[in-house]
Amino acid sequence: MQFDLTEDQRSFQEMARNFANNEILPNAEEWDDQSIFPEETLRAGAALGFGGIYCRAEHGGSELTRLDAAIIFEELASACPSTAAYISIHNMASWMIDRFGNDDLRARVLPKLMVMDHFASYCLTEPSAGSDAASLKTRAVRDGDHYVLNGAKAFISGGGRSDIYVVMARTGEEGPKGISCFVVENGTSGLSFGAQERKLGWKSQPTSSVQFDDCRIPVENLVGSEGQGFAIAMAGLDGGRLNIGACSLGGARASLEAAKSYMAERKQFGRRLDQFQALQFKLADMATELEAARLMLHRAASALDGKHPDATQYCAMAKRLATDTGFSVVNEALQLHGGYGYLKDFPIERYLRDLRVHQILEGTNEIMRVIIARKLIG
């Protein structure tokens, strides 16, 4: 077993860290406060290869591994989990097109996605189909050279702003086998968006519902084959869960660092906070649990890279552990800041708000347990 990063991975990590510290961190508070989607910064990141980290090089992807991506997302999220998480979603949707799309579709949409001239959204969840995603009701009906879509999607990151929507819709029977995957381009007639959602966190990315009313798309926009959509959606999520877990690690690490610095300055009862053993123990536990979650996440990423038969189970375990641990670490870091942690003058509350949703999306942590248990019990 090899636990050290390779020379390349250290270079990716250092570059991502520098980019995060110089280009993202100084602006993260403003993006959060004013709900700014930082398109220029995203494009600057895409110029460095963040737009398609594990897409093939043919249309401009970086062609790296899932483990490389996990290392990169942790760094980006250490500055702004919300912005890093949007990049994760863009990567997930782009990869689904790259992996399962036909050559014409790939050549048509990927080059702009890779440089983030176009932004991508992933559309699975519906108002009445969340955890039970396979019960989705959006329909796609074949009509000559077109599919006609009707239905609605909810909680779509990038909704209203994205150029490319990767949409799961029903073309056949009830259940997962009747679902297909489509690319819907913004501007298509019949595609519309709900109002921007008002959220606890993740404010640097737009979120809205997406509506399809007799939305006609060419048959070439089918990704994979009819009936393959749910499998494609789940394959995308394996990687998406790793990325979101990595985003939690990054946000938690930044919070732990902030708590360490605060405790080195703050004095009470005539002593620096970091001289109280009770608080030292708290820091020690936070660091230990964070490291354990990181190991699990890197293990799961390696499993996905190696096409391990249990990769989906490992990804679910890693997502559950990293996002729960991430939230508990940032929550403890806020506690260590006392009242100041609750103020916007310190960055902790932003990380807390951003990391909370990681326990809910890309499959709730309860669904992660369902996936793991199903494998255990059979």
Binding site: E7, S11, F12, M15, A47, L48, G49, A57, E63, I72
Partner: protein, 249 residues
Amino acid sequence: MKVLVPVKRVVDYNVKVRVKADESGVETANVKMSMNPFDEISVEEAIRLKEAGKATEVVVVSIGTAQSQDTLRNALAMGADRAILVEADGEVEPLAVAKILKGVIAEEEPGLVLLGKQAIDDDSNQTAQMLGALTGWPQATFVSKIELGDGSMEATREVDGGLETIKVNMPAVVSVDLRLNEPRYASLPNIMKAKKKPLDTKAAADYGVDVTPRLKTLKVSEPPARAAGIIVGSVSELVEKLKNEAKVI
């Protein structure tokens, strides 16, 4: 035209440096190391010259331990074409560096040598000037703008009280200042490609240079801790203290 860019591996500028317990120098074990920031600027400028079609090849060279390979790979990932590592352990003083570089120049025959104006570890600011003297080439130091002409270049220098523009014949030695450019990040694909670019390893002896230090470091110590300040009650009290205690007015 070939451009030669010497780069140095130094303690990262974000690191809070600590003096070793035996006062022999600063702690470098388990400390993050990076490319000297001024050297990053010279690498960036060389790559821009190549991208503009004014240079044909960018060769980076580093003199130091085997770990300096990381620094060279970083320069290759930014866009340099080829790297040379001249292995030398311990401290190599500016004169020895300049002598080795003279040897590298004899082999490589570059039309331009672009160096950082100084390294942020020892702040010597000597290598470029010594190299200019050893080669007999014109030198332009503290340069914030470069305009290549035909067989010559115009260099804008940052000097006390403003900017000075000088014309130097090529080949020339140029040391670069902070405001010349803003170095790029190496992209993920370029980091991968850097692995496949050639990196030659040499020894100082290959250039017949003795790198034994000429100077002896007696002691390295922390600067004295800053004394606590006071809050004065009024402007007149401030003036009184500046006059009678600080004796600055």
